[in-house]
């Protein structure tokens, strides 16, 4: 994550994209931003395709353009401007268009083998699906724009991999417009600063520009589990190793709620192989680095690098947080680790297990038994430890030490492995929810901790899926066209956006300034009685 990389100036390839804004001579900007993607794209297609896309694709796009042109009617363009909806729907009064064969299909289909990073796909996504309003309300904590949003840093990763830091926006609409202008492949959210990040260089003293507040964040990434996961490695994941994330969310979520008393925690799928937590309580946002470090330390149990040997060293008796985590993780250990991961299947692998057990003669007995039965499942091996211990394989066995070692092993294989640097610093940037992961094309959707078990990362919709779903959507029979159906409601993004919306609303409710009772009036009334 390029969190520490300072700004990089725009490079040549980008200028074309910027130019188009100016070249859109006749049409006012707002119209361009709000109207149908295919209509609006006609202008800049030529510019972008000329430069980057191959000619064949250009021809395909050209064909779409020709078909699309007759559909552009003036009232269509302005119909959306009148409603202040941020989520343009494909005109519901004209549903025929989306089902008719010559309809302006979304670029997902037009491109044929469209990749997620294609400009048109991304443009449609940002225009039609991205929940700008809720993102804004989430960061702003109230419906009216405030400095909570206005002084917040955004950082864009552009499609040529240039990284633009210190962007800021007064409202959701300006953010949306700039995203559509620059078409970042993703963007990140940083802290709220003392002043507008864009003005930082105009300040007399650079020390006056300081980060003030940011959500407390956690980052869990499956690559950190590479030494214990057997099913996949590197960037690959499957539902088996996703269970590591499931366990992590359970353990961290309950600790943050019960121990620290935080209420507004949202978990976001990172788009590929991990999850992020955003703790949004006011108190959490205002913590300094020391307090963030304290929480990170409190939650960190797995320590030490590749060569560190034993990674879990917890005090006995177990602190209530560790004891509770152990309780949660026990069942997962049996099913998700011993059965699914089978971490000690082969000879080299079970040596790792023996290293962690304290009693030498018991280890010898175990090694003998396992070597004679190659491929014995980890579940059986785990059970063997107790069986052999009871049978008296070791004369002076310290059963307490063995139990503790077993607990430590359990923790080492299940306890969350946090990328702790993300949590420790106030000014760390983290990818925004709902952006698209550039490699997988999956949307970074929120994970509902109530339905954690049902979440399957491979089932998360990709941006091309979603655009197709909009096109395939037909209005229900009883729809009389009164209610505008937003584009995201036509897709599988709907439950995710709705969950995020309810989360944001609960947060805003708590942030609402408490109305001061008019005590004076009561007093006056009281005084009148005498």
């Amino acid at each position: 994550m390029p969190h520490s990389a300072p700004e990089i100036s725009l490079t040549d390839g980008l200028d074309i994209v910027i130019d188009h804004d100016i070249d859109c001579d006749g049409a006012p900007d707002a119209v361009g931003a709000l109207s149908e993607p295919t209509h609006e794209n006609t202008l800049d297609h030529d510019m972008i395709t000329e430069d980057t896309e191959d000619t064949q694709e250009k021809q395909v796009e050209g064909a779409v353009k020709v078909e699309a042109k007759p559909e552009v009617k003036l009232e269509d363009l302005f119909a959306d401007v009148e409603s202040d909806e941020e989520f343009p729907s494909s005109n519901h009064q004209n549903i025929k268009i989306s089902s008719s064969p010559e309809a302006p299909s979304s670029p997902a289909q037009a491109g044929g083998d469209a990749r997620a990073s294609d400009n048109d796909v991304m443009r449609s996504f940002y225009q039609r699906l991205f929940p700008w309003r809720y993102l804004f309300q989430w960061l702003n904590h109230s419906p009216t724009p405030s400095t909570d949003f206005g002084h917040r840093e955004f950082a864009f990763t552009l499609q040529n991999d240039a990284y633009l830091r210190y962007q800021s926006f007064p409202t959701a609409e300006t953010l949306r417009k700039d995203v559509l202008r620059l078409m970042p492949s993703r963007f990140e959210i940083g802290p709220v600063y003392t002043t507008n990040p864009r003005d930082r260089k105009t300040l007399r003293k650079s020390s006056a520009f300081k980060p003030l507040a940011k959500e407390l964040c956690f980052d869990i990434d499956l690559t950190d589990y590479d030494d214990i996961r057997t099913c996949c490695d590197k960037a690959n994941i499957c539902i088996k190793c996703w269970q590591f994330i499931t366990m992590a969310i359970k353990v961290i979520d309950i600790a943050l709620r019960d121990d620290f008393g935080f209420k507004h925690i949202v978990w976001i799928y990172s788009g590929r192989r991990g999850a992020h937590a955003w703790v949004c309580d006011k108190k959490a946002r205002q913590m300094d680095d020391q307090k963030r470090r304290a929480i990170a330390g409190y939650l960190e149990v797995i320590k030490g690098g590749a060569q560190g040997g034993k990674k879990v060293n917890v005090k006995r008796p177990l602190h209530s947080h560790v004891a509770r985590s152990l309780d949660i993780l026990k069942t997962h250990f049996q099913s998700d680790i011993l059965q699914d991961q089978d971490p000690w299947e082969t000879d080299e692998k079970f040596d790792r297990l023996l290293e962690l057990l304290p009693d030498r003669s018991l280890n010898d007995a175990l090694r003998k038994k396992w070597s004679s039965a190659p491929g014995r499942a980890s579940t059986s091996k785990w059970a063997d430890i107790d069986v052999l211990a009871k049978s008296g394989a070791s004369k002076n066995l310290d059963s307490k030490a063995l139990l503790e070692a077993k607990q430590d092993i359990l923790l080492e294989y299940t306890y969350p492995r946090l990328d702790i640097e993300v949590s420790k610093h106030l000014n760390h940037l983290l990818k925004s929810p709902f952006v698209v992961h550039p490699r997988t094309g999956r949307v970074c959707v929120p994970i509902n901790p109530m339905k954690l078990g049902e979440f399957d990362p491979l089932d998360v919709p990709t941006v091309t899926d979603l655009l197709q779903e909009i096109d395939e959507w037909t209005a229900p029979e009883d729809d009389n066209g009164e209610k505008t159906v937003q584009d995201w409601e036509k897709t599988r993004l709907k439950p995710y956006v709705e969950y995020f919306k309810s989360f944001v609303q609960a947060l805003m409710k708590d942030e609402k300034p408490v109305k001061v009772k008019r005590e004076r009036d009561e007093n006056v009334a009281g005084a009148m009685e005498f």
Partner: protein
């Protein structure tokens, strides 16, 4: 502020004092009486002292603080530090207990009070100085708090008016098990300890180490942990005060009596690792280039050898590994171009494109070639000292940076040492003992001495190297420099001389 108060005088009384008299009248401050041995340094001193006293007191306190900082750099345990500091404290900054009946009691406390505020002025100017000052002052306070008479300490704490909510009997019984677990099994009977309930943010230290029970944002702090709460309070208040002092500092600019003293004081408060500079380590005649790193790595300290080995094994290093290694290479005199060549060729699995996108920038940043103004002006970060490597960013899964003596398990450490050619059982045993005692410097120096046994003997016998050149190594680059010079003693006299001259300077 004073002016403001003046204007607020009741208008009817304004005329009583002639303004000329008012202007030159000595302000009537209440004389401070020091009731307690400990001091939170809330009220600034107001009485007059001589310039000599001003300087002398400050220097005395500075001696104490510098010594304290040195203790933390040498990784001494709190008990060792306290033992080490006792004679120094008694000499320069004694503080008797109230019951001692010492005649100089008030004087001692005054000196403590005044010297603190003088140094506060001297160290408020930059962020770095403030942080260090607050750190060592906290250490000093902690040591004094621990040795303070129990009753006096209690009396002192009560004057602080910290709002701590006591935990009732019922609640204590309800969470008895959790409370005991958080205390590491202490107390045996829950009735033996009293608990306070405070917002967890006030005891971050205890939370970080899981030494308190947490519930709904409240930390249940046992009475015996009072120390860390009082200390946290002390640090918090002082950090704020330092911040305010720094803002008031410019008013002193005109003063030609105090400013020179204060500047002088703050300059003398330098960190040991600040002594290290890249210019003093250049090794004339040495071939420091990308292709020669493999050969040079024999002279690297274990931390860097480990990074080098990991890099050669995996053709990759994670972020902090790259940072630690790049800065070290910069420190031994590898220039930016060569360094980029080195990393490019080492990351053999990546394409040029990926390398340029993901890694090139960070290497250039470390050299100060890109980045913010201050980064470029300072030529990037300075190479990490042992202190930094030992205390910051312990390596996580899959990371190879850090100090092997500290971050490796003893088995893996022994393994690595054997791989780099340290096979002597006695040395290995010594390293193990050092590690157990957390004397990581000693372990590293032990290995250094073993690896350069003959050369060290030679320079000792010939008297070409003074004691200063053979003192404990506390910087990886110093390790390399010394190792390189020793290894090349006979071969290249020019280097030897060059190195010698450099070292004297």
């Amino acid at each position: 502020m004073i002016r403001q108060e003046f204007s607020r005088i009741d208008p009817k009384r304004r005329g009583i004092l002639d303004h000329r008299k008012k202007q030159f009248a000595t302000p009537a401050f209440q004389n401070v009486e020091y009731k307690h041995r400990l001091n939170f340094y809330i009220t600034p001193p107001t009485a007059d002292i001589t310039l000599e006293q001003f300087e002398q007191w400050a220097i005395d306190r500075l001696r104490v603080l510098a010594e304290l900082e040195a203790c933390s750099f040498r990784n001494k345990s709190p008990a060792e530090t306290a033992a080490h500091m006792k004679p120094i404290l008694d000499r320069y900054l004694p503080l008797s207990s109230s019951t001692s009946g010492s005649a100089t009691l008030q004087h001692e406390r005054q000196k403590d009070h005044y010297s603190h505020f003088i140094l506060r002025l001297a160290f408020a100017s930059t962020e770095d100085l403030r942080r260090r000052f607050s750190r060592v002052e906290t250490m000093l306070f902690r040591i004094r708090f621990q040795v303070d008479d129990l009753r006096e300490r209690q009396a002192f704490v009560e004057t602080l008016n910290l709002d701590w909510e006591p935990v009732g009997d019922d609640e204590r019984r309800e969470f008895a098990e959790e409370l005991r677990a958080a205390g590491g099994g202490y107390p045996k009977r829950i009735e033996d300890e009293s608990y306070f309930k405070v917002d967890w943010e006030r005891v971050p230290e205890l939370v970080e180490n899981r030494r308190v029970f947490l519930k709904a944002g409240h930390a249940y702090v046992p009475g015996r942990e009072q120390l860390s709460m009082v200390v946290a309070e002390f640090t918090g208040k002082m950090d704020k005060a330092l911040e305010l002092t720094s803002r008031a500092l410019p008013r002193l600019d005109e003063d030609d009596r105090l400013s020179p003293i204060l500047t002088h004081l703050s300059q003398n408060f330098t960190t040991p690792d600040a002594k290290y500079s890249t210019t003093s380590t250049s090794l004339p005649g040495a071939d420091i280039s990308a292709r020669n790193i493999d050969a040079l790595s024999a002279s690297f300290p274990l931390c860097m050898q480990n990074l080098h080995r990991s890099l050669r094994r995996d053709a990759h290093l994670k972020h902090y590994g790259r940072l630690q290694y790049t800065l070290f290479l910069k420190g031994i005199g590898l220039n930016l171009e060569e360094c980029l060549v080195f990393w490019r060729s080492s990351f053999s699995k990546f394409t040029d494109d990926v390398f340029n996108k993901e890694y090139r920038y960070n290497v250039r940043h470390a050299y100060g070639d890109v980045g913010g103004d201050s980064n470029r002006r300072g030529n990037g970060c300075s190479p990490f000292s042992c202190q930094k490597i030992l205390t910051e960013h312990p390596p996580g899964p899959g990371e190879a940076h850090g100090c092997p003596y500290r971050h490796f398990s003893i088995d893996n450490l022994t393994n690595l040492l054997q791989q780099v050619g340290v096979k002597d059982q006695e040395v290995l045993r010594g390293v193990k003992e050092d590690k157990e005692k957390q004397k990581f410097h000693l372990a590293c120096n032990r290995v250094f001495e073993y690896a350069h046994k003959q050369e060290i003997k030679k320079v000792r016998d010939e008297g070409t190297w003074g004691a200063a050149q053979l003192e404990t190594i506390v910087h990886p680059n110093e390790y390399f420099k010394r190792s390189y010079l020793l290894k090349n003693l006979g071969r290249n006299p020019a280097v030897e001389n060059g190195g010698d001259v450099k070292m004297e300077g």
